[in-house]
Symmetry: C2
Subunit: 565 residues, 2 copies
Amino acid sequence: MSEESTPGPKESPPAEPRAGSREVWKKGGRLLSVLLAVNVLLLACTLISGGAFNKVAVYDTDVFALLTTMMLLASLWILFYLLRTVRCPNAVPYRDAHAGPIWLRGGLVLFGICTLVMDVFKTGYYSSFFECQSAIKILHPLTQAVFVIVQTYFLWVSSKDCIHVHLDLTRCGLMFTLTTNLAIWMAAVVDESVHQTHSYDSSHSNTSHLRLALDLEQRAGSSVGGDCSCNTVICQIFQQGYFYLYPFNIEYSLFASTMLYVMWKNVGRLLASSTHGHGHTPSRVSLFRETLFAGPILGLMLFMVGLAVFIIYEVQVSAEGGRLQQALVIYYSFNIICLGLMTLVSLSGSVIYRFDRRAMDHHKNPTRTLDVALLMGAALGQYAISYYSIVAVVVGTPRDLLGALNLAHALLMIAQHTFQNVFIIESLHRGPPGAEPHDTTPKEPCHGLTFANLDALHTLPGCPPTPRLVGTNPVGPQEAVAIILAPRGHWRRRCLKDISLFLLLCNVILWIMPAFGARPHFSNTVEVDFYGYSLWAAIVNICLPFGIFYRMHAVSSLLEVYVLS
Amino acid sequence: MSEESTPGPKESPPAEPRAGSREVWKKGGRLLSVLLAVNVLLLACTLISGGAFNKVAVYDTDVFALLTTMMLLASLWILFYLLRTVRCPNAVPYRDAHAGPIWLRGGLVLFGICTLVMDVFKTGYYSSFFECQSAIKILHPLTQAVFVIVQTYFLWVSSKDCIHVHLDLTRCGLMFTLTTNLAIWMAAVVDESVHQTHSYDSSHSNTSHLRLALDLEQRAGSSVGGDCSCNTVICQIFQQGYFYLYPFNIEYSLFASTMLYVMWKNVGRLLASSTHGHGHTPSRVSLFRETLFAGPILGLMLFMVGLAVFIIYEVQVSAEGGRLQQALVIYYSFNIICLGLMTLVSLSGSVIYRFDRRAMDHHKNPTRTLDVALLMGAALGQYAISYYSIVAVVVGTPRDLLGALNLAHALLMIAQHTFQNVFIIESLHRGPPGAEPHDTTPKEPCHGLTFANLDALHTLPGCPPTPRLVGTNPVGPQEAVAIILAPRGHWRRRCLKDISLFLLLCNVILWIMPAFGARPHFSNTVEVDFYGYSLWAAIVNICLPFGIFYRMHAVSSLLEVYVLS
């Protein structure tokens, strides 16, 4: 609901009567769809959170029924949309060049395929004891498979659309589909948290958390369907398999949500001719060269070491015996080194930008706005966990090696998120490499006025707010220097490409670890003892999914940074 | 972090070198201050939430120490800011006419005075057993009093400033002060929730929640300071008094936060000459006439009845005996009638707008953007409570009169919030009464072009996106009708003024009830039995403060609607 309806420099005045889009008040239509989304989402949230608690009389079948209904409705709307845009060719007069870049759509297809495999596993798992449970549990993965196929096709072909017919209906439909994805995401996160807690409790069931563990055993029992149990080998494989595929389903829902949000922002948007989308479409020639190779090689080394550390950690934690301490020391040491290097590299990237003379890109760009908001918002999850860890270590009494490692890890985590965000956000706002200051020499009619009468400028109605003036004026006297330095800019670009590739690989390994089940938060006893198990579990289970999403999203943003710089 | 840096129509191009504000990239400065605010806020959040749990080894003295430090630092920064703007007259070249309207500043002073009284009570309360507790507990209310005085003066004189010196420092200072206010708000909300839960438990201590009640007794004991207890009459009065003044402190912090946020958005902003701030400054002549009197009279009646219902409810709930059922029936019946009337009135207001021909105001206006975001965001709290209630009543087995009333109440609450938000947001986006379509007759040079060559318009670089074109073009053919109907517009304006006054009074009574301690959520056993006490208490204690803030904020927005329509 931000004040973005003021026409930006790239948009023509919205009074154009062509294509039937005579929208007097864009925010009114948005308001309607946001209200719909909020209400549906809260209803889903209520049922899902109620279903997660064993004591509450909301069952997982209720949640499955709701999700199935939502997915069917969303699929129907998508089919209606596709049919309509095919039949009415001038429904989409503009396409947003920034929306739905190829790596986002490629990632969507990849995660979509993994989700389909997960659905096959789930169907197989529930079919193993078909006779003793409700049909909705088999119907749900099948509907999800249909929904994923329809939605992936829809986003592949339509993610750049700026549609101009049935504005309010399209907004509501997009918001409903977005809500469906978020509901699926919430349900998956809750399911995974319950599963993680269950596997934690079954390995710690001799501690004082026995009561909770028993509750969860019962829940796990009930989710298998009353009296039936998963005894056959194939059923066990199905069960194991679909839990390992959850992270992909979670990412699929989030990817789809971000693309749907951008489509929603683009409904009824009027763009200048599409040739104006300059620079942000990368030249294919420079896509895979021009690096110094130091970044990718160092990144790959860290990636391999990280994978080894992760496997060692998982083996030692799941093995019975006193090697938990050793596993944690290895895990934290690797993370501290990796985070420290990433912090330094991000910082040096920001330093390089201080010598960079490319103009800042002030164009309106819903995709980038969303990227920035998601990076900042998702970082909050890891920030919160780190602050709780810091308080527990600093206030808590036992000070040992693990406490010190934990503290260093938490502090570096905060620093790394902060500096990486600063680097990525600054990178995304730089103009393309070609837009060095000296190519903005053609003066607009108002440019002369700017210098002739500065005070009169802002009262002048006819003077357009040309964004290119912004970057050029302050560096005006240095244009000659910029031209001389142009060959050395090549060196800066190589450095930036190396930095983004290194950070990308590090983010991938830091995504893999928590996404596939490393939970030092619980293996380490500092926080569990300080906050109590239930409070700490609530903190971690709410915040960690955001932290995992942050890594995924940082990877896609860094890929964009790599291509753009 | 939204994409608002694209210069809006009212702003001149940001390349103006006067007053030293040659900011290449506004978002970079904002990013820095947001990162500072997020980190400080999360640290405060960690300590406050840790301090709220009795089992966690974070004590309220830690929280007090943090808050005291933050308030001292914020006060110092404010004094520095005031000194600097006094010394350097051209530091504030522009003033935002929309920011800090008189009712907001008046409310701030009113709540500030109540907060000062609360601080006196708190100091008196803690002084009663000075010898046996840490000095920070007396230092904290004294520092808060100083902070409130300094900040209220600062916001009174500076809330309209668009400052143009030390941009990054000012942004960080404003964000830090904002964070301080939010931390005070969180601490107050947590304290009040603990107190509410404590008074609930002391009246239900014969139920199964005995363990929790004992925990809280211990906590209440510890907050009184170890072995000392509050025995004297004057100490009891101080204690009672400061708990009743908490709602004002909470509102003070939120009012100050919103004004600081708008100041933060206005840092480095370039505005056209201030005479352009048309219409949103109300003419004083029309401030208190032109109503049909039906709205205020009906509103006042509902207000008086509501007050009586509230007192009856409080007396019957606190009295021992079986009159709880009766009290709840009265409470819910009044709320259902009140919410139903408000829904109908909001709807009729929206219907009136369908016949209104005033142009929509598309100007950039950070104050309004924030108002809309806060209305939508704060409504989420009451939405969430209502959805949890609905699920509990629908899924839960016992269906009686109270269940039906509860369900109707929850459904009407959702409808009322939705329609009231739609009405308020639409009202805030209407142009002032003078801006009827027929006064935009002077055509800009581009206006002719719009009709001459529609397709060329959006590729034309020199054509400014004049927002007034937006509203006028679609109604172009009806201009004659608008002129004829002008006298009848007066009738519409009277209706809208009546509607806003009626809604305002209803929101005040619906604010008073929960703010001063009515908690039918716990007196009513439906949800407590369904979700269990601890889960339901968590839901209500997190969401209700937002619901209470919504009422307060709706009152200030409705006052604005009343003045503007």
